[in-house]
Point group: C2
Chain length 281, copies 2
């Protein structure tokens, strides 16, 4: 059985209602997305304050520690306890984290959003990542997945102002996480994958956010060969996707898409649409 740290099960209501006046002078009640500060303490040391929608705070914190390379294995973590009363998450390790001081001291800060924080040299790591070359995603499965994403009952539909990420196996959505920042949504999925011992090699990562350098790096680090976005991409997102050989699709809306890199894994349907099997690991 997979090891799991002791976890709280805290979350925040995703939306609150506020008053507004529209262009016709009508007073309305509008749902807006929640946004709450959550300060992470690792063995009582304050690391960072994230502003989050608070849907999966324990997974977010674990994913943050994972993606920032501050914690290497889930087995190092004894407990993750979120307390919204004080806006804090206490992470306890079994035996302390090796090198935490030096990892924090030598932090480099890169940015995708543009001012996200990344510890250590992620760029150097990217060359050591090998994504599986033999996975396939058929166009028919891709379209069914997009349709599932579209129909998902999301905070975005109710309130906007959030980014959504999904982890999918074929057309099946395994996780769907929204947050006020797209990095948080990615990190929460990385944390949930850790908790459930889910591998990335046969998965598809969908995001509403742009394909910047950081998005590609995180996806590659999770070992996921397919990256799909409703939005566009940047030059460095493109360059990194090519370097790491990920299959990257942008502008994924309705029937339209643009396949930018990793063409060999994407199987276009012949004109007579055939049913397609989901990818398998």
């Amino acid at each position: 059985m997979t090891y799991r740290p002791r976890l709280s099960s805290a979350f925040r209501p995703p939306t609150i209602e506020v008053d507004s006046v529209n262009e016709r002078g009508e007073r309305l009640t509008t749902a807006i997305a929640g946004e709450y500060p959550l300060t992470i303490y690792l063995d009582k040391r304050e690391l960072v304050t994230l502003m989050t929608l608070g849907q999966r705070p324990e997974a977010l914190v674990l994913g943050y520690l994972r993606n920032q390379r501050l914690v290497r294995s889930l087995a190092e973590i004894e407990a993750v306890q979120v307390d919204w009363e004080v806006g804090a998450c206490a992470v306890t390790s079994f035996a302390g984290i090796d090198d935490l001081d030096s990892r924090l001291a030598t932090r480099t800060v890169t940015t995708g959003c543009g001012q996200g924080t990344v510890f250590g040299d992620l760029m150097a790591e990217i060359d050591s990542i090998e994504l599986p070359a033999d996975r396939r995603l058929s166009e028919a499965t891709y379209y069914r997945l997009l349709d599932n994403v579209r129909r998902y009952d999301s905070v975005y539909k109710a309130a906007g102002a959030v980014h959504g990420c999904a982890l999918a196996r074929g057309e099946e959505i395994l996780y769907f996480v929204e947050d006020v920042g797209r990095h948080n949504a990615v990190d929460a999925i990385a944390g949930q994958m850790w908790l459930d011992a889910v591998e990335g090699c046969d998965k598809i990562f969908y995001t509403t956010g742009r394909l910047t350098s950081e998005m590609v790096i995180k996806c590659a680090q999770m070992g996921i060969p397919f990256l799909v976005s409703r939005s566009g991409l940047t030059q460095m997102g493109h360059a990194l996707a090519r370097r790491v050989g990920i299959t990257m699709i942008g502008r994924a809306t309705g029937k339209h898409y643009l396949l930018f890199t990793g063409e060999h894994r994407f199987v276009r349907s012949p004109r007579s649409e055939r049913a397609a099997a989901p990818v398998s690991c």
Copy 2:
């Protein structure tokens, strides 16, 4: 005459072209936004690496230092020199920056995007900000400004994947900056305002990005009483806007908008649209 540090005048081409395949199997050449790392050195000390579109890098760096409260006055800065060959910006102060070590040591990291970096306690500062109560923005001027924004020849139209911010006086756009991250775009405008000794008190800040806590804080810090966004808002963005008394309009698209806070400064047109004077300081 206003003091200006010695500045390089470096910028990057905003878009590059890459190949893609669309849903009809057609090979296309697609313009995508540039994204370049720029590492800031303040008196030879490495502070941060920003990923940027690189349109106004000198203003971006100055605005970053201003908004992070690392530099209090432009007069402290002798030179800002960007060198894209090495992806670095060297900022030189005349006499060193007081307390730089302690400011960096006690950094708190808050997030809007959600993992942006802010030094010092910006939240405490917000209560000391007083925005002018007597400025007015008429609905007619507002609509003309939105129209000017819409017609602006932007990188977004060509390549997507960037956020845009504008500083306006009435309907007139003074600056329009785009960047891969919305924080960078805001910071670049803050830097340009510093360089040109432009006050915020009679200005309107427009952003394509969401109205999160950090966006409201930065706008208030620049002393700007009007904040307009094409996107939605978050709970904390709303709470801060109320607290600081900013006039905040969201969902600004076409003829539609939602006025959330600071109603007293917004003058709705009677049904017979009258011409309206721009706000004045």
